[in-house]
């Protein structure tokens, strides 16, 4: 192909500033009509002739050895076609190469109530359910580990025989500059302890999968997955099939939010059952089982210590997190790094130390939920800063505005910041909310709080480290002027199919609805790594631009010859190819495609995208780098009833720097949806377990797991800030996760403004507010929150000088007899600076 291979860096700068024809408009999504008429085929809508139904037998014990399984009575039941136990699927899997610790069916040990141990395929769901009751399992119960602190104090019995010792899965210790020196130079040093409760994604669609096995040795799996590529890998590994013999089709997800990003037991089980029976096999999880799949927000205990000058400039920060990981690894190693990665990308932190630990516990595994590992530390940091601002007598908005990370800079932990629109975001929500007239001035019971955040636009490093692109797009032009775009990305409701259509339409000058989109099918589409880490718009968008520009170059070559013009003078718009200097002189797009096809054959191109290399080169530098960072600022209004502790949030102001809106309507929906989910985590959502009663889930139902209904959801005032980033397609950054992050701390800060108590825990339930108000009334510390951070056997720190202290992003060798670190957090016994009302 004659076209030059372009990268984001050498793309002409006018892509960031040009006037757009399609990009940035509020368009309906390409799949909107199918969704409103009920025609979208979700995984459970797939039905095949002679289909069998599968059910999983799940452990009733949180932690037990399996002494024996006898499935013979189940296998003998009329209508049962196959029964599987752990020995049938002995090969482990897991999303991360470093945590291949799951089995489709537990072979020898169960690690949480709900861990699958056996599976049945039968002619009906009823028969399969009845057969589960006939599977005899003998367990030897082991002491369960109920939470992260329990895991620290009880290294035995171990839940897994790998990790960083006892029941600690992962320990991290990273140091960027000498924080002790930074604290010594501060005018104020403050420490805080906070806790962020775990929560779950709660997609409205229960996970479902259908497998079909053809006698020619080909396996097809339809699944509600966000990551068909990783399911493809896991199936090949566990089933010992060539990947070429496996086709994974990601059906449109009925909501994901990170909860459908792991390869799951049920996907492997139906595949194996289809292979054994030669018939299609379906499984649809019950809502209770969705709670057991989980992979949601890690409960995180956090300690943060920050030194500041009188003007609020940070001199050093030390952050510790302890994550309750549940029974398996999942994305947990990455989640743990993420609790320490992005503290540095909003305000300038010259010296930074992070210590993170993830514990194994006997609960459903935690993993990536919207914001993946960053809402917890963001809550801690933004509440902590609110307290610091009060101690300094500064307005919290001013404090933040004065110390923003500069654009196009490196952070202490070697993250490369590109565009940075947090300043405009803060100014928007401050002006819109009437912040200056309201902060600390509202009547008792009414409050206002502010918080900010940032999030990655795609992980800079893939899960499997290899030199291949993170996203691929294939494009085909039809003689009639239609265009088909093939991409492995997965539509989970965020609008990724529409992003492809808008971007290709912009480049080729056609209508987005002239474009057919084929996504999430490992047989048909080039690999895209999946719908996670807010990566899809940026990565598929850049790949789509490359593919579309290559097609445009081919078409332009032949249109130029026909029109007797240099190709550079051609524009593509309104389904035409024409002379920019004389628009009447041109061809229809379809005619131009035909000329190109006549001359060169089928007009088909490919594009791909690989993120830029990260400057950080230390162990652990793989988590945090991103091609671009989005920024958000939030102001929450609250009404707190001092008699009951009930918190209501009437309105939230949110400003989000999206770089560039590709589809304005979709951006609005993503921002509002993020605020909604953040509000749920702030006020009510929690994965709660009965630690003293077999570690069973308290509330595995949609009725008892409280999520905001129309009656709790607040009004949202949204501001879209566009600070285009050179790495984003047309400058675009993410918007699907970032705007969640500032909501819980903004609500917590507003509660303090309203009634003068600090709730250093989410969710901020009435009980916690009430207890803190009681303490305040008794003259005790007006606070509800954790009081201790356990001693953790941290490893030797990895020391990396920050960029302004020289170095090349690599760790420096440890000096013998180095300081043992700063363990054993102490919390001041008083709460400084609390207002007297």
């Amino acid at each position: 192909m004659a076209t030059r291979r372009k990268t984001a860096a050498d793309r002409p700068p006018d892509r960031l500033t040009a006037a757009f024809r399609v990009v940035g408009k509020a368009l309906r999504k390409v799949d909107a009509t199918a969704k409103v008429v009920g025609a979208t085929k979700f995984a459970d809508d797939v039905a095949l002739p002679r289909m069998l139904y599968a059910k999983l037998l799940r452990s009733p014990h949180p932690h037990a050895r399996i002494l024996g399984i006898d499935p013979s009575r189940a296998a003998a039941l009329a209508g049962v076609k196959a029964v599987l136990t752990g020995k049938d699927l002995p090969i482990p899997f897991g999303i991360l190469p470093v945590s291949q610790d799951e089995h489709a069916l537990a072979p020898d040990k169960v690690r949480f109530v709900g861990d699958p141990v056996a599976a049945v395929a039968a002619v009906s769901e009823e028969t399969a359910s009845a057969a589960l009751d006939l599977i005899d399992v003998t367990y030897e119960p082991l002491r369960p580990v109920t939470d992260a602190t329990d895991a620290v104090t009880h290294p035995e019995p171990r839940i897994h025989d790998y990790g960083d010792g006892g029941n600690l899965h992962k320990l991290i210790d990273l140091e960027f500059g000498d924080v002790a020196e930074g604290f010594a130079a501060a005018d104020l040093v403050r420490e805080d302890l906070l806790f962020f409760e775990g929560s779950t994604h709660l997609p409205m669609e229960q996970h479902a999968a259908v497998a079909d096995w053809s006698p020619d040795g080909k396996l097809t799996l339809w699944s509600s997955t966000q990551t068909p590529h990783y399911v493809h890998r896991a199936l090949a590994k566990v089933l010992e099939l060539s990947p070429a013999k496996i086709r994974v089709i990601a059906t449109p997800n009925g909501g994901g939010f990170g909860g459908k990003s792991d390869p799951f037991s049920h996907e492997i089980v139906v595949a194996k059952l289809a292979m054994l029976t030669g018939r299609p096999v379906k499984i649809t999880l019950t809502r209770e089982e969705v709670f057991y799949c989980h992979r949601g927000r890690h409960p995180a205990l956090m300690w943060v210590k920050t030194g500041v000058k009188r003007d609020g400039a940070i001199t050093a920060m030390h952050f510790k997190s302890l994550l309750d990981g549940g029974g398996y690894g999942s994305y947990g190693v990455a989640s743990t790094y993420y609790t320490g990665a992005l503290q540095t990308v909003t305000y300038h932190v010259p010296r930074y130390k992070f210590q993170g630990a993830r514990a194994f516990t006997n609960k459903p595994p935690c993993g990536p939920k919207r914001g993946h590992g960053t809402p917890q530390p963001r809550f801690a940091l933004e509440v902590h800063l609110d307290k610091i601002a009060e101690q300094l007598g500064m307005d919290p908005a001013e404090l933040r505005l004065k110390h923003l990370v500069p654009p196009n800079s490196l952070t202490a932990n070697w993250l490369r910041i590109g565009s940075m629109g947090l300043g405009p975001c803060i100014r928007k929500v401050v002006a819109g909310s009437g912040w200056k007239e309201k902060f600390r001035k509202l009547p008792h019971g009414k409050g206002i709080g502010l918080a900010c955040s940032s999030y990655i636009t795609g992980a800079g490093l893939a899960i499997y480290w290899n030199p291949m692109p993170h996203s691929g797009v294939q494009l085909k032009c039809d003689r009639g002027g239609g265009v088909t775009v093939f991409c492995g990305s997965t539509e989970i409701g965020q609008g990724s199919d529409s992003i492809l259509a808008v971007i290709v339409a912009e480049v080729l000058g056609v209508d987005p609805f002239d474009i057919a989109i084929v996504t999430g099918d490992t047989d048909l589409t080039p690999v895209d790594l999946g719908s996670y880490s807010s990566r899809v718009t940026l990565m598929t968008g850049n790949a789509a631009i490359q593919a579309a520009e290559r097609a445009r170059d081919i078409i332009a070559r032949h249109a130029a010859r026909k029109l007797e013009l240099p190709a550079e003078r051609l524009a593509f718009a309104e389904r035409r190819v024409f002379d920019v200097e004389n628009p009447a002189r041109g061809l229809s797009f379809a005619d131009a495609v035909q000329l190109a096809e006549a001359a060169e054959g089928t007009v088909g191109t490919v594009g791909s995208y690989t993120p830029p290399a990260s400057p950080g080169r230390y162990r652990g530098a793989g988590v945090g780098p991103s091609p671009a960072y989005s920024y958000s600022a939030c102001v929450a209004e609250v009404d707190v009833d001092p008699a009951t502790g009930i918190v209501r949030v009437p309105r939230i102001f949110i400003a989000h720097d999206v770089g560039r809106s590709i589809n304005a309507a979709t951006v609005m929906g993503q921002i509002e949806g993020s605020v909604y989910m953040g509000l749920g985590e702030a006020l009510m959502e929690e994965m709660a377990y009965r630690g003293n009663r077999n570690v069973v889930h308290k509330i595995p139902s949609l009725l008892e797991y409280k999520s905001p209904t129309t009656l709790e959801m607040c009004d949202v005032v949204t501001y879209v800030v566009e600070d285009p980033d050179p790495n984003g397609p047309f400058g675009a950054k993410e918007c699907g996760q970032g705007p969640l992050l500032p909501v819980p701390p903004a609500v917590a800060n507003a509660v303090y403004d309203a009634v003068g108590v600090r709730i250093d825990v989410v969710p901020i339930t009435p009980e916690k507010v009430f207890k803190a108000l009681r303490r305040k009334a008794k003259g005790e510390e007006p606070r509800f929150g954790p009081t201790a951070f356990p001693d953790i056997p941290w490893p030797d720190p990895t020391r990396v000088p920050p960029p302004w202290e020289g170095g090349d992003g690599k760790a420096v060798p440890l000096t013998p007899g180095a300081s043992p670190g700063l363990d054993g957090a102490r919390i001041p016994g008083h709460a400084p600076g609390v207002r007297d009302r």
Binding site: A26, R28, K29, D31, A32, T33, K35, V36, V37, G38, A39, K41, F42, D44, D45, A47, H201, L202, P203, M204, E205, Q206, P252, N253, G254, G255, G256, F257, T286, R287, K428, G432, G493, Q494, G495, S661, A664, A665, T666, M668, G669, E672, G673, Y676, M677, S701, L702, L703, S707, P708, T709, T710, L711, M713, D715, V716, V717, T718, Y719, V720
Partner: protein, 175 residues
Amino acid sequence: MPPLDAKAKIALELNGEPVEVAFAPHKTLLEVLREDLGLTGTKHGCELGECGTCAVLVDARPVLSCLVLGLACAGRRVKTVEGMAEGGRLHPLQDAFAELGAAQCGYCTPAFLLAAGALLAENRRPTRDQIKQALAGNLCRCTGYIKIYEAVELAAARMRGEKAQPARETLYGYP
């Protein structure tokens, strides 16, 4: 006693047309619609009556199809999302949901459309609070409900014959 799974046959009006369907008598309306009538537009989120995702209209009132036996619908008028568009044209609610992005993943959408349709049949000019009350039994995890309210208001205005357009801040945010 006949075997438990011996099929029963009922007649009902489904999306304006008479139909007969035979099914195992323990089946819910949700199961009958999806499995025996092939109308998979009706979704399920819990099958316990907790989320509202399976709502359909029976005699013009929203009901949770996971809690209603198919047998109980003999002789009744049942409407599902498949019956909303007429003559190849979207119902104004469907059109407004598509226009504003009130359907993100689209999984809860059929139930929201039907519940909103039942509201507008009774109240041509509902307030925002009345819309919230009418939809309080339906959970959505994607939208934060805002675009759903705005779509219902837009559709209501258009159904009253007004030439309504979405507000600029609905689609682009505040300046």
